[in-house]
């Protein structure tokens, strides 16, 4: 027992020592640093840049003067890596004096940005979704820098993006620098079929919803519980089930179901999705599949890992989703290792008998691409940042990001403006450059880089092409629909419509899941009827009205050009 006392006494005395130490620390901390929060060293350096930039009133040119700014990815599960840890960042900071200080939220993005807003210490550049409520806040508070004055001076965005009108805010100014904007269709939504099972079942016709049903029944009969006939990926996001909806109407779009629209356009008005006959027919079909256990019973409560596991081991017969090629592409490589005839292939989108199969669109895209970069008023020299982003999105910038600095893998441009690939082109090195630069491609330019990539790809024999790309040209891209007209239909979060939208979104998911699990066609109707009533009582009609007006504005803007 005596032994016990010593460590405790030591601990107690340690406490005391630390306590006194601490008192000392806190005092010195207070006097030495009156307010380190505001004294950001980057700010001072920026001031320097600023003065130099203002001295010459010419254009900002990459590499002429040092540029330093802070950048922040406003996402829950995405942070920018350290600038210098990426090949492009290393090159630009060493050769071109461009230094970017990455601010990371490590998952606390909502709180981080709120704190930065409240203390008015915004990052110079914010990178997030186009319609993010926080961006709306910054806009309302006048904290965003409009790009209009720079657009002509630095013309890459204007050249490659084309019409910028729909990207503008209410005041007619442009604050968004889009990322991965494109004039061509892109996207991978559709159906992937397990080749081995398909062959074993005698390669039946798979074109209409009836074909699909018969096929799934056959799969169930032959393989029982060991194979999931139809895997819709994560059904909470609607994914594969949404793809099935598009089979039931010409021009029925996945976007109709999404939170940003949740309506069906009819005669220039947005109407309730729940009363839409196409949607009802689709839900009855889906409910039938679910009831007969042709759809994964875990559809609404499975993790990505579980889906991936099934696809990787070839335990699904049909796999549909917003981008089924991601998983299937990985599985393809694995499955063909042991069985060269195995793996997956894509089919032309399923349609209801009687419909035109060329008017079925399982996926959608917008010309604006994915998200956007914003410059805040915290930036000391917003013009330089914009000019940099514009260089970054231009041909030279894109090529450096994708193929490394000029000279090694590429040299100069051909007559179409695409890069000339050199003898020394090293596919492995290029692959690594791309993957490492990928997280800091803030303002990707799909319009430019896709043809450039295919210039190289076209030289490859078919077998060396990636499984994923084989279907892009022939199936997925032609069957994706441009829904640019439906962008920007989200009301401000704190407005009345915004509050309605939040509760409509809540309720809709519940109704959707319930109707999939309904026991009969009548029950589907009953659930949807009741759902419609509930949504209307939440103010769904009002939201639709608001969205109709916005949508019409969009159409007007688009027709103006």
């Amino acid at each position: 027992m005596r032994k016990m006392r010593k460590p405790l006494l030591v601990m107690a005395s340690l406490c005391l020592v630390f306590a006194t130490l601490l008192a000392g620390c806190s005092k010195s901390g207070d006097t030495n640093k009156p307010d380190p929060g505001t004294a950001k060293n980057e700010g001072q350096q920026q001031k320097n840049n600023n003065t130099t930039a203002n001295n010459t009133d010419g254009k900002w040119v990459l590499g002429e003067k040092p540029l330093e700014f802070s950048a922040y990815a406003h996402y829950n599960n995405t942070d920018f890596p350290k600038w210098e840890s990426t090949p492009i960042g290393k090159y630009l900071s060493e050769e071109k004096q461009v230094k970017i200080n990455m601010i990371a939220a490590a998952g606390a993005h909502t709180q981080k940005l709120s704190a930065m807003m409240a203390s008015d210490e915004l990052p110079d550049m914010i990178w997030t979704d186009r319609d993010h409520p926080d961006i709306d806040r910054l806009y309302q508070a006048g904290k965003l820098v409009p790009y209009d004055d720079y657009l002509d001076k630095y013309p890459n965005l204007k050249t490659w993006m084309g019409d910028l009108n729909l990207l503008r805010h209410d005041d007619g100014k442009l604050y968004r620098f889009p990322n991965w904007y494109s004039s061509n269709p892109f996207g991978n939504a559709g159906y992937v079929i397990n080749k081995k099972i398909y062959d074993e079942l005698g390669k039946p016709k798979l074109e209409t919803t009836d074909d699909l049903y018969d096929y799934l029944v056959k799969v169930k009969e032959k393989y029982g519980d060991s194979i999931v006939p139809f895997e819709p990926h994560r059904a909470q996001d609607m994914q594969g089930l949404g793809v099935l909806y598009t089979a039931f109407g010409e021009g029925a779009l996945y976007t109709h179901l999404s939170s940003g629209l949740r309506a069906v356009p009819k005669d220039g008005k947005l109407t309730s999705i729940l009363t839409d006959p196409v949607f009802r027919e689709a839900q009855k079909y889906i409910a039938k599949l679910y009831r007969e256990k042709l759809i994964s019973q875990d559809a609404f409560n499975q993790t990505e890992d579980q889906v991936l596991e099934r696809v990787m081991t070839g335990r699904v017969a049909v796999f549909a989703g917003a981008s089924p090629t991601d998983f299937a592409g990985e599985a393809q490589a694995e499955l063909t290792k042991t069985d060269p005839d195995g793996g997956y292939f894509m089919i032309w989108p399923i349609h209801k008998p009687g419909l035109d199969k060329n008017k079925i669109y399982p996926g959608t895209y917008t010309s604006f691409g994915w998200n956007a970069a914003y410059i805040t008023t915290a930036a000391k020299d917003p013009e330089a940042i914009f000019a940099f982003l514009d260089w970054y999105t231009g041909p030279e910038g894109m090529n450096v990001q994708f193929f490394g600095p000029e000279g090694k893998n590429w040299q100069g441009f051909d007559e179409e403006g695409k890069p000339n690939f050199t003898e020394n082109y090293d596919p492995k090195e290029v692959a690594e450059i791309q993957s490492k630069n990928n997280p800091v491609m803030f303002v990707g330019n799909t319009s430019y880089i896709d043809p450039a990539k295919y210039k190289y790809m076209a030289n490859l024999p078919f077998e060396e092409q990636d499984w994923r790309t084989r279907y892009q040209q022939t199936i997925t891209w032609p069957t994706q629909y441009n829904v640019t007209e439906f962008t920007g239909l989200n009301p401000a979060a704190e407005s009345e419509e915004g509050i309605i939208q939040a509760s409509v979104d809540e309720m809709f998911l519940e109704i959707y899941a319930k109707s999939v699990m309904a026991g009969s066609d009548e029950e589907v109707d009953k659930i949807l009827d009741q759902g419609q009533k509930d949504l209307v009582s939440l103010g769904y009609d009002r939201l639709l009205e608001w969205r109709t007006a916005k949508w019409q504005e969009n159409l007007a803007k688009m027709n103006k050009k």
Binding site: D298, N301, E510
Partner: protein
């Protein structure tokens, strides 16, 4: 007071007060050493908890983040956010689920670590005891994402181990889709919770049991008291003060039904009628759509109810001689 002045007219009221003050200061002076022990704590809590407390007022405003600490610039909206919450279509079920889930967690989750600690206490084999103690404490360190992933895999209708076992035993013919049927959700949620936290929560009780005088057990052994009797007559009474304090605190926390566990395990929206609680709602509607004032107002509502329940629990506990204040 008036009586006092008539009976003893000499010391006027203010003098009495002064004398009282004087004696208070004198009394404080006498116990300066004890006061010195609590004053640093009071100052720290004042600075770090009370100074930012003005933030609760933003629940009565339309708070604009850019005003920062100058909250007075924001418009007062009275009880707008509270009314909006009470009128939310989900309100009733939120309250109901919150109460039911947290009551279940309390009724089952509260005694579980005590029982575990008592069981561990009966283990004479020191090595075994230590190993078990260490292992049962492990799940606390698993993130809910991992735990939920494991649970979903276990309960899956396709190759989920639970369904496979049940089918082999012959208890069911068809796999049960546990995670999309409302009737199973609460049991699943509570079991997983208890499993995850029981070992970690038992540490405090182990510490309490460790402070029991071993002579008592020796005496009981000699008297031939059975294990149950010893637990009932010696161990339990010795740890009862700790148990009661924890119980009071747990009752005060009854509106915290959990958050991440529910969010992840109730992935299927069909379960919302039984799974949606205040905190998951605030996460989705308040933070998800960034209604700052709304979230603050709901938090305030919760705090008021919690303090009410805490006070009640404390009042009841006073009889046992163990209370918070």
């Amino acid at each position: 007071m008036p009586q006092a002045t008539t009976e003893q007219p000499r010391p006027p009221a203010y003098r009495q007060l002064k004398a009282h003050n004087k004696s208070l200061i004198r009394r404080l002076g006498k116990q300066w050493d004890v006061q010195l022990m609590v004053i640093p704590g009071i100052i720290l809590v004042f600075i770090f908890s009370y100074l930012p407390m003005y933030g609760v007022l933003t629940g009565f405003m339309d708070y604009n983040l850019f005003t920062g600490a100058n909250i007075w610039e924001n418009p007062w909206v009275g009880f707008k956010h509270f009314v909006a919450f009470f009128n939310a279509p989900e309100f009733e079920r939120l309250i109901r689920n919150t109460i039911i889930i947290s009551l279940l967690k309390f009724v089952i989750g509260f005694p579980a670590p005590i029982i575990l600690a008592l069981m561990l206490n009966e283990v004479r084999h020191m090595m075994f005891k230590r190993v078990i103690q260490t292992i049962t404490y492990l799940p606390h360190f698993l993130s809910w994402v991992i735990v939920a992933g494991l649970t979903m895999a276990m309960l899956s209708t396709e190759n989920g181990s639970v369904n496979m076992i049940l089918q082999q035993v012959g208890a069911i013919d068809e796999p049960i889709n546990f995670l999309s049927l409302k009737q199973y959700f609460w049991s699943i949620l509570i079991s997983v919770n208890v499993w995850k936290e029981v070992g970690f929560a038992s540490i405090v009780y182990l510490a309490a049991i460790a402070s029991v005088d071993p002579h008592l057990y020796e005496a009981a052994d000699i008297d031939g008291a059975s294990k149950f009797k010893q637990i009932y007559l010696i161990t339990l009474p010795s740890i009862i003060p700790v148990v009661i304090i924890f119980m009071i605190l747990a009752i005060g926390g009854l509106l915290n039904a959990g958050f991440e566990d529910i969010l992840l395990l109730a992935a299927n929206p069909v379960l919302r009628p039984v799974s949606d609680v205040i905190d998951t709602y605030v996460y989705r509607v308040g933070l998800g759509t960034h209604r700052y004032s709304y979230a603050i107002a709901i938090g305030l509502f919760k705090a008021i109810i919690s303090v009410g329940m805490l006070t009640m629990a404390n009042y009841l506990a006073r009889r046992s001689g163990n209370s918070l204040w």
